[in-house]
Symmetry: C2
């Protein structure tokens, strides 16, 4: 054990774990990426713990990686240069809920499901749902979003302020509770999406929303993927305020039925949800039903009860696990591109063409109202040839997204998996990102080897 770990152990006692199993578990997310265990894992309980630990790592030049629910998908938490993993899941207190201001303050280790459970009796909810029951800190770090983003935005919109431990162990507060401000640089949104490379977020002020009076969901099957996608584009262009519009292709529906023991029609499918007053939600749904019918969408099935809706959305949220389960021992590889909505049909068509080059089981699923979709592969993580094949399909899909004015990641983040695409996507702006990284973390101890390409 190196000096830094010994110093941390002396300070934190058995809250600092160095056992192999705990380190292994903290060296990876849920994806195929090879895990790299940290040297030690600290179970932090306060911002002060994090500040003190980061301060010690700063003294010793030891890398520090923040860790939440471990559900990331691009190798975002693997300890590629070793170091200290700070597990924030014990920082799971909801510190304040202001129902009248529609906001709250939570510690970074609170999960989205926990938060919504706590909000149940307030008439409010936290809309973002990236499928997995991620922590708020993890979601902020990757600028996560999910099915509701088409209506409620992403973590950049949900986070109003942050408590952040900087590379030297100092603590700052960014943003605030006012709904808007022009008072200086937007540090909040600089930290959101920075994946723990500029600072470690320990608390967040979050924007909440009133539970709509009426929530209606609907599912609709299509003769082919293109018709489904084209009807989404028409819905978005019509400016109907849908709360959710999700695509699951035929293969995904088959996987979901198998995994969740549901009996949904096996066809390219759109799931919709409408939020508003009873009058507005019904009106929105009626207009969408008209549009999808024009594209051959059939069997517009509504789910009005909480239970029907829960089943429907559980099926959607299980998509990643359902695809992974298609193949025993497989791990999921979920690519994540996002393009302007008018280019979505071309991008998904291109994805299908690219998919035809591999026999690896794959599904298409996405937050298509934002132009964002995933191809999920069930890969054999021990098969190097297969991994190379999927890496190639992935690269082709990202090239396509870039050529269609899109981005290489809509919501999963860069981690180690997408670093190689940053120069192509941002050009000279990568240099400016590097200047900021160097200014805020001059010795590069914060989650090194992530987000920015070497250079």
């Amino acid at each position: 054990m190196n000096d830094a770990v010994l110093a941390l152990q002396e300070r934190f006692g058995d809250r600092l774990a160095v056992g192999a199993a705990i380190r292994e578990q903290h060296g990876r997310g849920e994806s195929y990426h090879p895990g790299m265990p940290p040297d030690a894992v600290l179970f932090a309980e306060t911002t002060g713990d994090v500040a003190e630990a980061v301060g010690k790592c700063h003294e010793h030049g030891l890398p520090v990686i923040a860790f939440g629910a471990g559900t990331s998908l691009e190798g975002n938490v693997s300890a590629v240069h070793g170091g200290l993993c700070i597990d924030l899941t014990r920082m799971n207190r909801i510190l304040r809920i202001s129902a009248e201001d529609l906001d709250c303050t939570v510690q970074a280790g609170v999960t989205r499901v926990q938060l919504n459970r706590e909000l149940r009796h307030t008439g409010l909810f936290f809309p973002l749902d990236p499928g997995a029951d991620a922590t708020i800190g993890g979601m902020a770090a990757t600028r996560a979003s999910g099915t509701n983003a088409v209506r409620y935005g992403t973590m950049k919109d949900a986070v109003l302020g942050l408590t952040v431990v900087m590379a030297d162990g100092s603590v700052i507060h960014t943003g605030g509770r006012a709904r808007k401000s022009s008072a200086g640089y937007d540090l909040t949104r600089l930290f959101v999406g920075s994946e723990g490379t500029l600072g470690i977020m320990t608390e967040a002020v979050l924007r909440l929303h009133g539970v709509p009076d009426s929530i209606v969901a609907a599912a609709c099957s299509f003769p082919d993927l293109e018709s489904a996608v084209r009807s989404v584009v028409a819905v978005i262009q019509s400016a109907i305020p849908v709360a959710r519009v999700e695509l699951m292709d035929e293969a995904q529906m088959r996987a979901v039925n198998e995994f969740s023991r549901t009996g949904y029609p096996v066809a390219d499918t759109l799931l919709f949800e409408f939020h508003g007053s009873p009058v507005a939600a019904a009106d929105d749904m009626r207009r969408v039903a008209e549009i999808v019918a024009g594209f051959g969408g059939g069997g517009f099935r509504t789910a009005s009860t909480q239970e029907e809706r829960s089943t429907l959305w559980k099926a959607r949220h299980d998509a990643f696990y359902a695809t992974t389960a298609l193949r025993p021992g497989a791990r999921g590889w979920s690519t994540d591109v996002c393009v302007p909505i008018a280019n979505l049909a071309a991008c998904i068509e291109g994805a299908r063409v690219a998919l035809s080059a591999t026999a690896v089981p794959a599904t298409i699923v996405g937050h298509v109202g934002d132009g964002n979709f995933h191809v999920i592969f069930a890969v054999d993580p021990g098969n190097a040839r297969e991994l190379a094949e999927i890496a190639d399909v992935n690269a082709r899909l990202i090239d396509l997204a870039h050529s269609l004015d899109g981005t290489c990641t809509g919501e999963h983040g860069v981690g180690t998996g997408k670093r190689g695409y940053m120069d192509r996507e941002h050009g000279e702006a990568v240099r400016v990102m590097r200047m900021i990284k160097h200014a805020l973390d001059p010795t590069s101890i914060l989650n090194p080897g992530k987000v920015l390409p070497d250079g």
Copy 2:
């Protein structure tokens, strides 16, 4: 003339102006703050012009200040250390409109009115309206918003990407056209609100919105300010998606009637606007009418025709000029605080108390749906005692906003006017802002003396 200006003149010929009148005009916004003229004014026509000019200023250590419509309110453009003013108003081309993607790319000198005129036949509009016909570059620089922000957000939400000239004259592109992205640091939102101190924005990708099928406006008078504010809080907490909710106090209504020759009731007044399908907009309005009636709001008058609405909103947008016109020779001093909505009544009540300490004519007006309001004073800019008196009222109001979890500026920016409040508002985070400023502009040529306090 110094060497830098001579070099610029050699390169740009008569597009570089050094006459006193032009320099005076480019040394100030619309507020009471004393103007400071730059050494020269360049009328830039391309991003290349800006890059070349900034490059030369970088070589010579000459300050550079970007200038748009000149409508800023906190001394944001005054050349406090001299230098080159780059006037961007000739860069007023709309480069692309993608109706199907609800976005466009514009040069920084395009104004919001010009953009909406151009969009008239597309079914789309750009919702942000900070009263003045500001340029998109200026609005992005100050993170502006206005009456529609309660529904459509601020410039941080409207700007999807930017072209920015950095302090060394290099050019970068930030963000992009995808509706969301997790690909690296959010440089777009770092530049939005940075008031030209981190780079000069020359182009912007903007999010547009579909013109709603139905737009209905309404005005409502109240027996007192508190009833008006309390009904706004109730409307926001009910999550009715109002598109606008604006407060004008009795004094403001009197000033507006005089200035715009209108005959609105002289009373504390709320203006509302509802956007949506005809069914949804009517339903929203009905629910709001019910709520305001519960707070004694009387005479809920609707304006459905384009002409009635234009008259109503013109009155609102003239508020600043109407107040200034109350006193011949006066200039406007508009403070700008924003607090969580539940604290709005206390903050506005405190503002009234603070106002009672001065005889200077003043009105209260605001984007109350966001918790944001202004007190506009008609000050005699030559009367030092009076300016000191208003500075004191302003300081008390900002202290109050801070004590109510608010911000010292909701939408006008920091400029020179609010620098002194940054430490109180942000604490240690100011140090981090300074680290970023130093990394991106090490010789401090970009709009020096603004945003960050000395230190």
